[in-house]
Structure formats: structure tokens, C-alpha cells
């Protein structure tokens, strides 16, 4: 395990250094006014990282309030996607006819830009949390369904024969072999879902909302509050990173045999 430690440090240190360097460059470019001049803009439209940090601090109450709204939408949306996606996968795995019927449609459904039908869903479900949850779930269910189905199908045919020969019922085969085999794949799907959920949340809020980080970005666009827009983006991606970290932790706990 010793040599692992140095590589782990490198894994944290090197991206950290690169990030610091990029922020530093941005700071110089923005605060010197070079970028604003180049784009013929007022300097306040090109905030420096320091100004964004300041905005982050000054608006902490507002940001937290709206972050909570968006976080709730994301959590419910991802949860719904996990339930529906894994459910679909199990049904398609169990009944061949369901897979043959539904799989091409699920693939084809991905050509529909969910974000474009967001306004329709807002018409149907109103301005509350419901249309956001539906949109986030629609964006997230695809990677979950596909990965869960792949996982269920990753079971070796020989293992199925062995279990059948050792008196396993269909349910026991699922519980003792198929489900544990599929779990790591489900986590892969969940990690993708966690990353794309914020996109769904922002678009859903743009389609009609009274609160949330997406809503905040939208209203700040109208008021040229660029620094706060950046601050909102920072909060949004911090939330996604936190959800990712939680998913990875849960994965390590649940899929401990890997």
C-alpha cells in the first residue's frame, strides 16, 4: 500500500495546482481589464475570481435558500429515476418480450430533447416542484436503465446453470446472483445521473419557476448580475460534486467485495 500513497497525493495535488493556475490566470486577465477591453465590455460584466468569491459570500443566504430548492428537486428526481430505471431494467430482464418491445423505444426516446419538452411539462404540472422532478427523472433514467440492464445481463450463463442445479428459484437466482452482479453497474448509472441532474434542474427551472439556482441565474441574466451568476454556477457544481462523492461512498459501502 505504501507506493499507493504518493500516487494518491499526485491525484489530488496535480489537478489542484492546475486549477489554482487557471484561477490565477483568470484573476489577472479579469482584474487587469484586458478581457473586458478585448470584448468591448463594461468591466463589471467580466468579474474576477475574487469578485465571484465576494459575491458568493455576500449572497450566501440567498444562494443557500435557492440551492436547497434545487437540491430537493435533484434528490427527488434522481431517486425517481433510480426506482423507475432499475424497475424497467428488471422487468425487461425478466420478460424477454418486454425487452424486445421496449428497448428500441427507450433508445429512440433519447433523440427527444427532454429539455425542449420542459415547457410542456410545466403547463401540465404547474410551477411547483413536480415538473422539475419529472424532467430530472426523465434526463437521469436512461443511464440507470441501460446500466442496470447491462448489469443483470452480465451474469454468466454457467452461474445460472449452477444455481438452477442447486435448487435456486427464479427469485433466489435474482437475489443471490443477478442483483449483486448488477449493483456495481447501477452505481455507474447513478454516477452519470448525478452529473446530468443539475442540467435537468436548471432547464426545468428556466421553463417556469419561482425559486432555485436555475431561476436565480435566469433573473440575474436580466439584471446583468454576472458575478452572482458565476457564484451560482459554483454552488451548482459543488452540489453535483457532493452528490457524486456521496454516491461513491455509498458504492464503496454497498459493493464492498470489489
Amino acid at each position: 500500500m505504501r507506493p499507493q500513497r504518493t500516487t494518491r497525493w499526485r491525484r489530488v495535488l496535480l489537478p489542484g495546482l492546475l486549477l489554482a493556475a487557471l484561477i490565477g490566470l483568470w484573476q489577472i486577465a479579469a482584474s487587469s481589464g484586458a478581457v473586458a477591453e478585448l470584448l468591448s465590455l463594461e468591466p463589471y460584466l467580466v468579474p474576477s475570481p475574487a469578485e465571484i468569491a465576494q459575491s458568493l459570500w455576500e449572497n450566501r443566504g440567498l444562494l443557500a435558500e435557492n440551492a436547497w430548492v434545487t437540491l430537493r428537486e435533484m434528490l427527488f428526481g434522481i431517486l425517481a429515476a433510480i426506482v423507475v430505471g432499475v424497475g424497467f431494467a428488471v422487468v425487461m430482464h425478466r420478460w424477454r418480450v418486454m425487452r424486445d418491445a421496449a428497448y428500441p423505444l427507450i433508445i429512440a426516446s433519447q433523440t427527444i430533447p427532454v429539455l425542449v419538452i420542459a415547457p410542456i411539462l410545466t403547463v401540465w404540472f404547474g410551477y411547483g416542484i413536480a415538473p422539475k422532478v419529472v424532467i430530472i427523472a426523465l434526463v437521469c433514467f436512461f443511464p440507470l436503465t441501460i446500466n442496470a440492464l447491462d448489469g443483470l445481463r452480465a451474469v454468466e450463463p454457467e452461474a445460472v446453470k449452477m444455481m438452477r442445479s442447486l435448487d435456486a428459484s427464479r427469485w433466489q437466482l435474482f437475489r443471490r446472483v443477478e442483483a449483486p452482479t448488477a449493483l456495481p453497474h447501477v452505481f455507474t448509472g447513478a454516477k452519470i445521473a448525478v452529473v446530468i441532474a443539475p442540467i435537468g434542474a436548471v432547464f426545468a427551472e428556466w421553463a417556469g419557476s419561482s425559486a432555485g439556482l436555475g431561476h436565480l441565474i435566469q433573473s440575474d441574466t436580466a439584471n446583468f448580475e454576472v458575478a452572482r451568476q458565476f457564484a451560482t454556477v459554483v454552488v451548482l457544481s459543488a452540489m453535483a460534486l457532493a452528490l457524486m462523492a456521496l454516491t461513491v461512498l455509498a458504492e464503496r459501502r454497498v459493493v464492498g467485495w470489489r
Binding site: 454457467e158 446453470k161 442445479s165 442447486l166 435448487d167 435456486a168 428459484s169 443471490r176 467485495w257 470489489r258
Partner: protein, 271 residues
């Protein structure tokens, strides 16, 4: 449920397991257009151990699946204890696949006990039954090891106990030691011979190792290239599972090995 495990102190015995004779008559099988087995006849008496050797792809694994009731023949009958119903074969025969296929999310003992759990036994009594077997067959102390922590030989032992513990009179073993190095394989053959002496079953052992078949079995059937048919059936001159070094150097054993190899060479050219 598991009569063979009832008495852990049972003495060495070759007593037959009643009602477990295996009978294949005129068995054919094909996957679509491809015929895998043609008119296979094979009889194994209760408690007998029969080896099946043959070139790669001659349908040996299919033969085992037919015996276990995992597959139905295209022609002929496969019967265990007089019944040819697939459900009865499934109930009377346990299948050990080529690779151990231990489930990485279970400990060694829970892997071994999985048949008992499937049969509805609760976790603790199932573990207790498996623990007995672990101690009797040299796996004591490895109960809580994860499969990944075990050596190849150990994993095969657990996989064999998993098959044994199902309590079925017939065992179908598919090249159980093919993946092991030569020394471990020799040790495992002796271990398996001892296990079958202590807990006799009717066994069909598929292998590509003629010496392994002759050492472990009463009789050896040689299959031809696809579609597989029985082209030779040899009685093993030495007593099954005796001291391995003594057995393999016995002149009668050596002669039987030559005979089997010759049949195999002949069969590989196609029949």
C-alpha cells in the same frame, strides 16, 4: 434432505447410493443444425464413478447439462433412478461448472451453503452444516475467507463442497481441475477421491485428462469428435482413488492409459 451428511463419523465405504443409477440410451442432441451428440449410450450404477473424455467441442459439457436436467435431448432418454423427467433429474443431480464461479459477495462458507439456503434452510443451520464439511475436508479455518482470498485449489474445494452439500445422489463434474497447475491438480485428485470415499455418490466426471479420469473413475467412456458418440469404454484396472503415485505407475494402469489415448486419437480424426 441431506442423508449423506447425517453422520460425520461415517467410515470409509463404497456402498451404493440407492436409486441413483444413471442411464443414457441413444441420446442425441443438436443446437439447430449442429449435431453435438449422436446416439450416446452410457450406464452408471449407483455409487459408480464414470469418466468422460473426448476432444474439445465433442459435446462433453452438453452431456452433463442433459444429465442434470438443464437441457433436454433431441432424441433418446436420460434417466436417473428410472425417471427421465427433467424436473426429477434437476432434483437428483448437482452440477459443478468448469470454473468455480464462487460468488464474490459471499464468504467461502456461505458459498458452500448456497444450495441449503436455496432449499429453504435458515442461514445459521446452513452454515453449521457447511462448517462440518469444511472441517472434514480440510478447509477448516477458511470459513470466513472471501473467494478472492483463496488459492485456485481452495476455491475448487469450496466449489466441490457446494455441489456435495446439495445432498443429491448424482454429481456432474465439468473439468473441475482444468484450470489448476499440475501439482495442485494431483493433490486435488487425491482430495476428491478421498471425499468420494467418505461420501459416495454416483458421479459423471468430464475431463480432457485421461490420467485423471483413470485415477478417479471405475470406468472411462471415450467420446469421438463432434457429434460425440461413445467410441470406447474402458474398465479401470486399479482400484479408484488409491495412492496416486502407485496407481499411475501400475503397468495395468499404464496400459489402460495407452488404450484410452489411442481411442482418443482415433476419435479425434472423426468417426
Amino acid at each position: 434432505m441431506n442423508p449423506q451428511l447425517a453422520d460425520p463419523n461415517r467410515t470409509e465405504t463404497t456402498a451404493a447410493v440407492p436409486g441413483s443409477e444413471l442411464s443414457l440410451r441413444g441420446v442425441s442432441h443438436s443446437y439447430g443444425e449442429i449435431a453435438t451428440l449422436a446416439e450416446v449410450d452410457l450406464q452408471v450404477e449407483s455409487g459408480g464413478v464414470v469418466g468422460v473424455v473426448g476432444p474439445s467441442g465433442c459435446g462433453k459439457s452438453t452431456l452433463l447439462e442433459l444429465i442434470c436436467g438443464l437441457r433436454e435431448p433431441s432424441g433418446g432418454t436420460v434417466a436417473i433412478g428410472g425417471s427421465s423427467a427433467a424436473g426429477d433429474r434437476l432434483a437428483r443431480c448437482a452440477f459443478m461448472p468448469q470454473r468455480d464461479l464462487l460468488l464474490p459477495w459471499y464468504s467461502a462458507i456461505d458459498n458452500a451453503a448456497i444450495a441449503l439456503r436455496n432449499q429453504g434452510m435458515r442461514r445459521e443451520p446452513a452454515r453449521a452444516a457447511a462448517r462440518d464439511l469444511f472441517e472434514r475436508f480440510g478447509l477448516g479455518g477458511f470459513e470466513n475467507a472471501r473467494p478472492a482470498e483463496l488459492s485456485g485449489g481452495m476455491r475448487q474445494r469450496v466449489a466441490f463442497l457446494r455441489t456435495l452439500i446439495a445432498g443429491k445422489p448424482v454429481l456432474a463434474l465439468d473439468e473441475p481441475f482444468a484450470a489448476l497447475d499440475a501439482i495442485t491438480r494431483g493433490e486435488m485428485q487425491e482430495w476428491l477421491a478421498a471425499a468420494l470415499r467418505a461420501d459416495p455418490r454416483t458421479v459423471v466426471l468430464v475431463t480432457h485428462d485421461v490420467e485423471e479420469a483413470l485415477y478417479l473413475c471405475d470406468r472411462v467412456a471415450v467420446l469421438s469428435a463432434r457429434p460425440g458418440r461413445v467410441i470406447a469404454e474402458l474398465s479401470v484396472p486399479t482400484r479408484r482413488g488409491e495412492n496416486r503415485d502407485a496407481a499411475v505407475t501400475d503397468p495395468a494402469f499404464v496400459a489402460a492409459r495407452e488404450e484410452a489415448l489411442q481411442a482418443l486419437r482415433h476419435g479425434s480424426r472423426g468417426s
